[in-house]
Symmetry: C2
Subunit: 97 residues, 2 copies
Amino acid sequence: MYGLIGKIKATPGQRDALIAILLDGVSGMPGCLSYVVARAPDDADAIWITEVWDSAESHKASLQLPSVKDAITKGRPLIAAFESHVETTPVGGHGLK
Amino acid sequence: MYGLIGKIKATPGQRDALIAILLDGVSGMPGCLSYVVARAPDDADAIWITEVWDSAESHKASLQLPSVKDAITKGRPLIAAFESHVETTPVGGHGLK
């Protein structure tokens, strides 16, 4: 499996708009086992995204899906910065489907 | 919802033993919507744990479950350090159940 843990800063006041775009784009991505979007309680502009994929290839391929390309196009102007980006190798757990 | 993103360092050589204990303890935790254990590809001793709960109370209550208390007792000697611990407020996504 292939995992990502990322923190994104939205432009001021745009966090919820960016979250809505992120959530709208995540349905039906082949190989996606988990995709969770969360607010950072201590930073009004920050978003945590945690992802699990069956493979790095599936994640890479998802970036070419029309729904994802559309989300990237809509979301990019609302992103101020990518604060952290960590790759992981998920082993197992609960909620992977 | 209530989320946690944590990074744990195992004692040298004990990462997989610690992962096995962590995975063994996570079945049937009430209110747990996602619990993923992952290796850090760039650090042979590091583990990422990402969790989503229906509430902070459910997470707190899980620490009193016999299976979790047992995992904590078994796992603690294999933990060298808690490297990071972030609380989040998950909003939605895929794989929450």
